[in-house]
């Protein structure tokens, strides 16, 4: 045993040997190794079961997420298939037709049927 160099980088052989003797098990290591190996298949089996358990725990949330995705997809698709509203130009187009002059030059208030028929004609 060495006298302290406190932060010695080398193991202390005497202390190490004494500790090793103190911690050494009574029986041989081969028996211990055999005991561990007797659990080999069971440990791997348990690991597989644990993996399946994890997958199973994901099943319900997975189904729910898939259903939600389907609904969202359906709604999105339906929105995309609905005809787009008329453009600004289309909406203003009737104003450029013949009915426009009648509306602008008339001294009388416009008749609604004129306006509507003008719109219908333009379409």
């Amino acid at each position: 045993m060495k006298n302290e160099p406190s932060f010695d980088h080398r193991p202390d052989p005497e202390l190490g040997a004494a500790l090793r003797a103190a911690l050494e098990p009574k029986d041989d290591h081969a028996a211990f190794a055999a005991r561990v190996m007797a659990q080999y298949e069971r440990a791997l089996g348990r690991a597989s079961v644990a993996t399946l358990d994890v997958l199973a725990s994901w099943f319900r949330p997975g189904i729910a997420a898939a259903v939600a995705a389907l609904i969202l997809g359906f709604l999105f698709g339906r929105t995309m298939l609905t005809p787009a509203p008329a453009s600004f130009d289309t909406a203003m187009a009737p104003l450029e037709g013949p009915g426009l002059d009648a509306l602008v030059t008339s001294q009388d208030p416009p008749d609604a049927s004129v306006v509507f028929s003008s719109l219908v004609d333009q379409r």
């Binding site: 045993m1 302290e4 406190s6 932060f7 010695d8 980088h9 193991p11 202390d12 005497e14 202390l15 190490g16 004494a18 500790l19 090793r20 003797a21 103190a22 911690l23 050494e24 098990p25 009574k26 290591h29 081969a30 211990f32 190794a33 005991r35 561990v36 190996m37 659990q39 080999y40 440990a43 791997l44 348990r46 690991a47």
Partner: protein, 184 residues
């Protein structure tokens, strides 16, 4: 501690389903794992249970092992964690009770009994150290790991590992010196 290359080969074979390869790894590290677990738990039977848990846990997690790193510290980390978990679960007191004959004088023992007495005293002294400290000194002075490797095994900074070894040694060396003085 076994050659790293051999360990890697054995790990690869084990991952490929070679049961015997894992058996070689177990035989190679059995002594070390049992001693490290005993440093944590004190009781040899508890220690063997923990060491076994450690090996089987390592088997299950083997795919996570980075083969660019040495196998020993990776395995010892798992074993140390298994021992710590078991100690927490059972809430056992680490120190083994001192044999009454060792405490109170008695007839001068023969050489074998003297060694046995020293071992008992060391185990008791280890049991009185904080858990991390006794693991550090066993990993360093018994198993030959470097401070950096011990830091990795225990999940602490290297400077802390160094300090833990130092404090544990100071206590154990005092005990060893006293014992030598006594048997002179």
């Amino acid at each position: 501690m076994g050659s790293s290359e051999d360990d890697k080969g054995l790990v690869t074979k084990t991952l490929g389903g070679d049961r015997d390869a894992f058996g070689v790894l177990v035989e190679r590290y059995a002594a070390q794992a049992r001693r490290v677990a005993r440093a944590v738990l004190g009781d040899p039977d508890d220690a063997d249970d923990a060491a076994q848990d450690g090996f089987l846990s390592a088997l299950v997690k083997l795919a996570q092992y980075d083969t660019r790193r040495p196998f020993g510290p990776w395995l010892m980390r798992i074993v140390a964690n298994a021992a710590t978990d078991r100690r927490r679960r059972r809430n056992v007191r680490q120190a083994e009770p001192l044999d009454a004959a060792l405490v109170g004088g008695g007839p001068r023992p023969d050489a074998v009994a003297m060694r046995s007495e020293l071992s008992a005293r060391l185990r008791t002294a280890l049991g009185e150290l904080p858990e991390r400290r006794r693991m550090a000194v066993v990993l360093f002075d018994v198993e030959g790991y470097s401070h950096a490797e011990i830091a990795g095994i225990l999940g602490i900074p290297e400077g802390t590992a160094r300090s833990e070894v130092f404090h544990a040694r100071r206590r154990l060396r005092t005990l060893l010196a006293d014992w030598k003085e006594q048997v002179r």
